[in-house]
């Protein structure tokens, strides 16, 4: 008996297609089960001050609404200290001085930032600021972390 060539081709082709069909889902499945490429673990950022801004008003976000380095004697002076990094306990201090280093005020906040944060300090003087040059020094855990100078003019 002689096989029909067309029939042989058809049978072989069907077999190949069947195998491909059976394997295709496996390979597709394998692809979907591949472990995702490892991503870099987020690195803990050490606490550090990124900006010190001065102004005579702050918003709800604790940032000064209009940065300035010149104030009127009647102004409340705000320092907005932006920071990054996490820490369980940071002693953030603001030291305000007048002219040749005369201490105006020094205050400290103990914070536990979990990431970017804004901390504000403010000072006011009921009978008005004497005209002159002032300086703000910011320290974190006793180490200098930023500074700003400003003037008060009549």
């Amino acid at each position: 008996m002689v096989s029909h060539p067309l029939r042989i081709w058809s049978t072989s082709c069907l077999t190949v297609l069947a195998i491909c069909g059976a394997l295709a889902p496996l390979s597709a499945c394998k692809r979907s089960e591949e472990a995702p490429a490892p991503q870099a673990a987020p690195q803990a950022v050490a606490f550090h001050v990124t900006r010190v801004d001065l102004g005579n008003a702050i918003g709800a976000d604790k940032k000064v609404t209009a940065p300035s380095v010149s104030f009127k004697p009647s102004d409340t002076i705000y320092a907005s200290i932006s920071s990054e990094g996490a820490a369980a306990n940071v002693s953030l201090s603001a030291r305000w001085t007048f002219e040749d280093g005369q201490l105006v005020n020094e205050s400290t906040q103990i914070i536990a930032p979990a990431g970017p944060a804004v901390t504000e300090f403010h000072i006011s003087k009921p009978d008005g600021w004497p005209a002159g040059k002032y300086k703000l020094e910011v320290s974190a855990n006793g180490k200098p972390a930023g500074a700003a100078e400003f003037t008060v003019t009549d």
Binding site: K62, N89, G101, I111, A112, A117, S124, D127
Partner: protein
């Protein structure tokens, strides 16, 4: 002798602050408070500034015995540990 401009008083300065970061828990170990000596400072002046009582200078002296040998001799720029009042 030149006239010295009288120094203004900042005794009535009011201050405050707040933060978007939470306050550290009260039982967290507090970071040591420090003070940087400026020209004209003495331990009693520093105690007066920081504690409101110049007689508490010995607390500062005791906390800094490792770096301050003579309580009458401190230097501008020197960083002192300030114990709680």
């Amino acid at each position: 002798m030149p006239d010295e401009k009288p120094k203004p008083s900042f005794g009535n300065v009011q201050s405050g602050g707040s933060s978007t970061a939470p306050a550290a828990p009260a039982n967290a170990p507090a970071a040591p408070r420090t003070y940087t000596v400026v020209a004209g400072d003495s331990l009693s002046k520093i105690a007066k500034k920081l504690y409101g009582d110049g007689n508490k200078w010995k607390r500062i002296f005791e906390a800094n015995r490792d770096t301050v040998k003579n309580p009458d001799l401190i230097h501008p720029g020197q960083v002192l540990k300030i114990p709680d009042a």
